[in-house]
Amino acid sequence: MQWLSAAEAVSEYVKDGQTLYLAGFTHLIPFALGHEIIRQRRRHLTLCRATPDLLYEHMIAGQVADQVVFSYAGNPGVGLLPVFRRAVEQGTIGIQEWTHFEMVARLAAGAAGLPFWPLNTLDNELTERRPRPRVQSPFTDDQVAVVPPLVPDVTLVHTHAADDAGNLYVDGLLGDIREAVLAGRQVVASVEQRLPAAQIRATRLTLLLPAFRVASVSVEPWGAHPSYVFGQYDRDTAFYRDWDERGRDESAVESWLDEFVYGLASRADYLQRQPPGRLSALREAAGQ
């Protein structure tokens, strides 16, 4: 486990052509690390996430991805993902599509080192297009559908805290995070803060992943903005709502990336560019 800046971590661990999983379901989405991947202009990535969310909007617009592996390409509570939608409708990006259950089952197989994961659901048009084999149970007459493992080259994750050893801790919504970090060949993390273990044990934070499975940790306050860190800051719903319009306009997306990603050296600069009072309001909304 190394303590690295986000720039160093991406430079060291994220390579062109890799399969990445940027974890987090609505909660704890690793925007700081994702933006760093855009800034360092990685190319030909396969980006996996149950919910591509605005992070993959940014990354698709930043042209880092050849393919998106996903299960729900919506803007949560708002509508669709305009950049993703445009790329798919124009055929400029490849997709591989699953249901949520299939996605997390694929991660679970990856996490456990198993060649498949069984599940008991119905076939549908997705499983007709992308056949989902069935396996015969040796114990009964049952046949069960199976999905292949998903083993990301790197899983990137943002969590509440790391202790001095680099153990990662979270609270609140787990979504797909646990399976995603367990499945990754390497885990690159950013955290809100670094805290002594004794201090962490006095809170409700629970272990996500032990340090021996973590490649690097970067301390990145607000590293999940505009998504949220439960108990630290709330979701920036205005940003998500605004994206519905901004994302439809290619040049607006470009200038947003220029202003908030390419034109900045680091996350600290990103935070300075936020509208006055916005971040403090999100802290207050989280009860801080």
Binding site: V78, T99, A108, D123, R235
Partner: protein
């Protein structure tokens, strides 16, 4: 203080809320189902167990959440569990009584499309996709669907079967599948052959109008009724829910 009448969309939420029974475990989808389920919990079903596919068990949101992963859903929830745990050990094993879904298209068998308008490989509109919808449709004990009704949303054939309904051969043999469809024109159930059937109309709708908004010859219950009007209590609960929406946290 003015008391504007409910929009038809709001009335849909009231009608759908009435379909939920006390203590049921409801897997709540994005959008209108979210409004309806939270409304039922504030009316006749305070013990309703709200489950969200993000891994939230027994949510008790103070205000209406914008998305299914919002912090307001987590704050007073019984627990957050991994999606794997939720889908494997709760949904897959039949512990979810009601799957509550929206979508872009539904057909006469209750097949639901939330994936694409037009051909999958050359989409006219690329929608969000399944999320958990296909899994919920497969495993929940019964499904309630909510869609606005017109020929775009009610085509003869959905462009893509994201969440399968009743097979062409009859109702699902395991007793599961679509049970109700709530639209802005009426309420539908499914007959013994698994065919969607008009059950009740809103006060100012006609069978003719409903048929005109439907892309196939609609089956009609022998004795279709009128949807009972929104009660003052329902009205107040809905307004209170919406006013709290997006407001500051107390």
């Amino acid at each position: 203080m003015t008391t504007p009448p409910l929009t038809r969309r709001e009335e849909m939420a009231v009608v759908a809320a009435r379909l939920l029974r006390p203590k049921e475990r409801v897997l709540v989808g994005v959008g209108m189902p979210n409004l309806a389920a939270n409304l039922a919990k504030r009316l006749h079903a305070p013990d309703l167990v709200l489950i969200y596919e993000s891994g939230i068990l027994d949510a008790n949101p103070e205000t209406l959440p914008l998305s299914i992963g919002d912090p307001v859903l987590v704050r007073d929830a019984l627990a957050t569990i991994s999606m794997l745990d939720l889908f494997s050990n709760y949904l897959q094993t039949g512990w979810v009584d009601v799957g509550f879904l929206g979508g872009a298209q539904v057909d006469r068998r209750g097949n639901l499309n939330s994936t694409v308008i037009g051909p999958y490989d050359h989409p006219a509109v690329r929608l969000a996709g399944s999320g958990g919808a296909a899994d919920i449709a497969a495993c929940a004990q019964r499904l309630i669907l909510m869609l606005p009704q017109d020929r775009r949303h009610f085509p003869a054939r959905v462009d893509f079967v994201t969440s399968p309904g009743h097979p062409a051969t009859g109702r699902r043999p395991d007793g599961r599948g679509p049970a109700w469809v709530v639209t802005d024109m009426g309420l539908y159930d499914f007959d013994s052959t698994g065919e969607m059937r008009l059950r009740a109309l809103y006060r100012d709708e006609t069978v003719e109008a409903v048929q005109a908004a439907t892309g196939w010859p609609l089956a009609i219950h022998p004795h279709p009724t009128r949807v009972p009007p929104v009660t003052p209590e329902e009205y107040r609960a809905l307004r209170a829910l919406q006013q709290a929406r997006g407001g500051p946290r107390r």
